[in-house]
Symmetry: C2
Subunit: 144 residues, 2 copies
DNA sequence: ATCTTTGCAAATCCTTTGCAAGGTT
DNA sequence: AACCTTGCAAAGGATTTGCAAAGAT
C-alpha cells in the first residue's frame, strides 16, 4: 500500500490548510487501500453501495485535487476513461485482462533498470524523460 | 515506414473486396507515411488543408475499419483522444513532449528483450500477455 | 444493379464548468 | 465570518449511430 498511511495523508492535507470533508476522507481511503486502479464511475458505485451519495462533479474535482496534492496518480489503462491509484505505491505496472477487465499489479525490477537505461539514452539525444506509462494487456488466469 | 507499401496495402484491401474510395486511399497514405501517430482531429485538418472535405464520422469509421483490417493500430498517447499509426511499423515506443506535444519514435532492442522476459514471467503466473503499451513523457530538445 | 461507404444530424459518454448553497476551520 | 467544497444543471469535446444519398465494382 505504500509508505504513508491514510491517517498521515489526511493530517498532511489538513496541515496545508485543506478542508477535511467526508468525501475527501472516503476518496483518500478508497484510493489508498484499493488493490487496483479505479475510475470515477467505479468510485461513484463504490460510494453508492456504502450508502454515500456523492455528486459526480465532486468525484472528478476531488480526483483532480488529489492528483495535484500528490496523493493520487492518473493511469492510462483504457482510452475510454481515466483510472487513478495511490501515488504512494512503489513503482509498478499492470496486467489488464482484455476479457474481464481485471487489473493486476506487476512489479519487475529488471524492467525498471532497463527503463532507466532507455531514459538515460533519451537524455543523451536531447529528450528529458519525466515519467513513463507501461501497461500489459492479455488474458488473465480465469479467462484462459 | 514498414514492410508494405501504400500501393500494396490498397491492392490487398481491394482483393478482399473492399471499395477503394478517395478517402480510404488518403487515410492509408497519411497513416503509412506519417512520422508520428495521428488522431482523428489532426487527420481532418490535414485533409482540409489539402482541400479535401471529409466528414468526421467518416474519419472515425475509416480508422476503425483500418484497425480491423490490420492496417492501422491504436496508440494511447494522451487520455483525451486516440492516436493511430501504421500497423506495419517495426515495434517501437514514443517520447512525447509534455510542453509542445511533439511525438518522437523510440526503438530500443534491450527494452524489447526485457519486455519479452516479463511477458514470459507473466505467462508462468497465469496471465497471457497479448500486447503492451509503453510511452515516455517529458521535454523535447526544443522545449529544454 | 448491388452492396459498400459517406454525409448529416442527433445521440452518447466521460469530463468540465458556473454558480449558488452548504460545510469546515 | 471567511472561504473552501459540494450539488445541480448545463456545457464541452471526442466518438458513435441511424438513415438516406452517393459511390464503387
Amino acid at each position: 500500500m505504500g509508505n504513508k498511511t491514510v491517517a498521515v495523508v489526511i493530517r498532511d492535507l489538513a496541515s496545508k490548510g485543506h478542508r477535511l470533508t467526508k468525501t475527501r476522507r472516503w476518496m483518500i481511503e478508497v484510493l489508498m487501500t484499493s488493490d487496483y486502479p479505479i475510475n470515477a464511475i467505479e468510485l461513484r458505485y463504490l460510494f453508492a453501495n456504502r450508502g454515500l451519495r456523492v455528486n459526480k462533479s465532486t468525484i472528478y474535482r476531488e480526483l483532480e485535487f488529489l492528483v495535484k496534492q500528490g496523493v493520487a496518480r492518473e493511469v492510462q489503462i483504457v482510452p475510454e476513461l481515466k483510472h487513478y491509484e495511490s501515488a504512494y505505491l512503489e513503482h509498478h505496472h499492470h496486467l489488464t485482462c482484455r476479457n474481464c477487465g481485471r487489473i493486476e499489479k506487476l512489479v519487475n525490477e529488471g524492467l525498471e533498470l532497463e527503463m532507466e537505461k532507455v531514459e538515460r539514452l533519451a537524455k543523451e539525444s536531447g529528450f528529458s524523460v519525466s515519467e513513463h506509462q507501461l501497461e500489459f494487456y492479455g488474458r488473465c488466469e480465469s479467462c484462459i
